[in-house]
């Protein structure tokens, strides 16, 4: 990360860099962000560069640049917490009051206001625009996204991750890790719509091997679905359908489908990679 640090502007509008620039690695990230570090460590996070800026009234904004190891991982951390409209910075971005997030190449960037968000907005966006070109060319998105059926897919609500902590913060499933997710599993979680209405959520998990996928499928059925459910399918308490399927080293689960047929249709449209 050293090559571009010196190019990051030390002054943006009337906001001046303050204090010492800090760098955190996998061991020290907890010093910076408390338990939230686990969310980053669940990805292939390498290190974070942090610089604070102050305006004359001592309001503060924080620039965080995370080297996530690869463009896929940078997309992943960006995609797990996306709610606001894009602002055209980096490969993909979003801005909501006091928080700019974007990814570019193998880097994920967040710029946060600690105080008055409105006052900081212009400086946050200007800083983002100044930093993005320093981070190198755009990178590829995770290949696993290619498994998602395109019809009805809400692209800006699609997430890529590995671990249960990310799944639960994105879509609460269970207090226990009932799908046996870890750093070696790749997951995409997507939302679908049809005719302007919610049409279900799709979780696809790629396990390192078929045995793990089969075991996770069986465990999910036992832990999540009611005992009398037909294999891998059940109507949940809100009348929507949950349908799970296993194929080679993949497990795919549709949640919240309005009808069982909707869930089956989504399943059948999953584009599993050819061996």
């Amino acid at each position: 990360m050293t090559d571009f640090r010196e190019s990051i502007p030390k002054k943006i509008l009337d906001w001046q860099a303050t204090g010492k620039d800090m760098v955190y690695d996998r061991k020290t990230l907890f010093d910076y962000m408390d338990g939230g570090a686990e969310v980053y460590l669940a990805f292939d996070f390498k290190e974070a560069f942090v610089r604070k800026y102050q305006d004359p009234a001592k309001e503060e904004i924080a620039l965080d640049i995370y080297d996530m190891g690869s463009p896929e991982e940078a997309f992943g951390i960006f995609s797990c917490d996306r709610q606001d409209p894009g602002v055209g910075i980096g490969q993909e971005s979003e801005y909501g009051p006091g928080l700019l997030r974007f990814h570019q190449g193998r880097y994920f960037v967040s710029i946060t206001a600690a105080g008055d968000e409105k006052k900081a907005e212009k400086a946050i966006l200007e800083l983002g625009k100044a930093v993005a070109p320093l981070l190198g060319p755009p990178g590829a998105r995770p290949a696993l996204l290619g498994c998602l059926p395109e019809t009805g897919l809400k692209k800006d609500r699609t997430s890529y991750f590995h671990s249960a902590v990310n799944l639960n913060n994105r879509f609460y499933l269970a207090g226990d890790n009932i799908l046996n997710l870890d750093a070696r599993t790749d997951c995409v979680f997507a939302e679908y719509e049809a005719g302007g209405a919610e049409a279900g959520n799709l979780l696809i998990i790629r396990y390192p091997d078929e045995n793990r996928a089969q075991a996770a499928y069986r465990f999910f059925n036992k832990a999540y679905l009611p005992p009398n459910a037909a294999a891998g399918a059940a109507q949940a308490e809100d009348r929507t359908w949950t349908v799970a399927r296993v194929r080679t080293n993949f497990v795919a689960i549709v949640f919240k489908a309005p009808m069982k047929d909707d869930a089956e249709r989504l399943h059948s449209a999953v584009r599993y990679p050819r061996k």
Binding site: E38, T112, A113, G175, I178, A223, A236
Partner: protein, 293 residues
């Protein structure tokens, strides 16, 4: 085998059954038992129109809460029930930059400790260096004071989690949704010393985003304090408040922050208090608007 709270449990409203009774509603109890008293006090002027804390009002809120908690009619007399003049007192605060313990609350506690006869040099306010702070090292009494907020792993940061800095390693408590936090109260530097827990719900945070799990848009001016001697009971009430706000703002599917199991385990495994609402006497004082619980 029953696994911990699943999405389906939430959908059928069975959260209480799965999280013990930590998040349920009280039912008639057949056997009389001593309950953990928890005070929820609110004041509409605790923050001014610019969201600045009102020190005078906060002092008044703390005084009223502690008097009611201990059935005393004078705040200094109430604090004399909590400390002796010879006590060495650590006020365990929280310095998290986005939502720290308000200095006005720290000052209110300290003021009453001094009034109760504790020497100035025997009082310290600290967070990250409590393990080495000389006052905390030789403390005979602890006051546990922090704001309420959600947390990526623990589901909720409350008074139980506030003691994590007393342990050598904080990450050691992160596995399994921070399930082991209740064990902190058995550390030798802590055990048996906590006299009062004050969960600041002046500006609680019901949802988190961004690298620090913070965005001001999810903070609201609730203008309250939750006060009690049973840390688990205090956090149980805090969790109910967070859930009530999340249900309104985020919907039933996100009512429970994933997943605050440490509160129930602090009761059932570590036995440091009660998460059973049947065993908690919640007394509400002051401003009733949008009280939520």
């Amino acid at each position: 085998m029953k696994y911990t709270l699943t999405r389906r449990d939430l959908l059928r409203g069975a959260a209480a059954a799965v999280l013990g009774t930590a998040v349920g509603f009280p039912q008639e109890s057949t056997a009389p038992a001593k309950k953990s008293r928890v005070i929820l006090i609110r004041h509409k002027d605790a923050l001014d129109e610019n969201s600045q804390f009102n020190e005078k009002v906060i002092q008044q809120m703390l005084d009223e809460a502690v008097m009611k908690l201990l059935d005393q009619s004078d705040p200094v007399a109430a604090f004399r029930r909590l400390v002796k003049p010879e006590d060495v007192v650590g006020i365990k605060s929280n310095v998290w930059s986005y939502l720290p313990t308000p200095p006005e609350v720290e000052k209110a506690v300290k003021r009453r400790l001094l009034d109760a006869g504790v020497k100035e040099e025997s009082i310290a306010i600290d967070d990250h260096t409590v393990r080495t702070n000389p006052i905390f090292v030789k403390s005979t009494a602890l006051f546990n004071v922090r704001p309420l907020r959600t947390h990526y792993l623990a589901g909720m940061s409350g008074c139980i989690k506030n003691y994590i800095m007393f342990d050598v390693s904080q990450p050691d408590h992160h596995p399994d949704s921070c399930a082991s936090l209740g064990s902190l109260f058995h550390l030798s530097q802590v055990k048996g010393k906590t006299r009062l827990n004050i969960l600041c719900v002046l500006t609680p945070q019901y949802y988190g985003r961004g690298p620090h799990n913070f965005s001001r848009r999810y903070v609201w001016n609730y203008k309250g304090l939750i006060v009690g001697q049973d840390v688990v009971a205090v956090d149980t009430i805090g969790l109910r408040l967070l859930m009530a706000k999340r249900r309104i703002e985020l919907g039933p599917a996100q009512e429970i922050p994933p997943v605050p199991k440490h509160i129930q385990l602090a009761d059932t495994k570590y036995e440091i208090g009660t998460s059973d609402l049947n065993k908690i006497e919640l007394i509400k004082l002051g401003w009733p608007d949008e009280i939520l619980i």
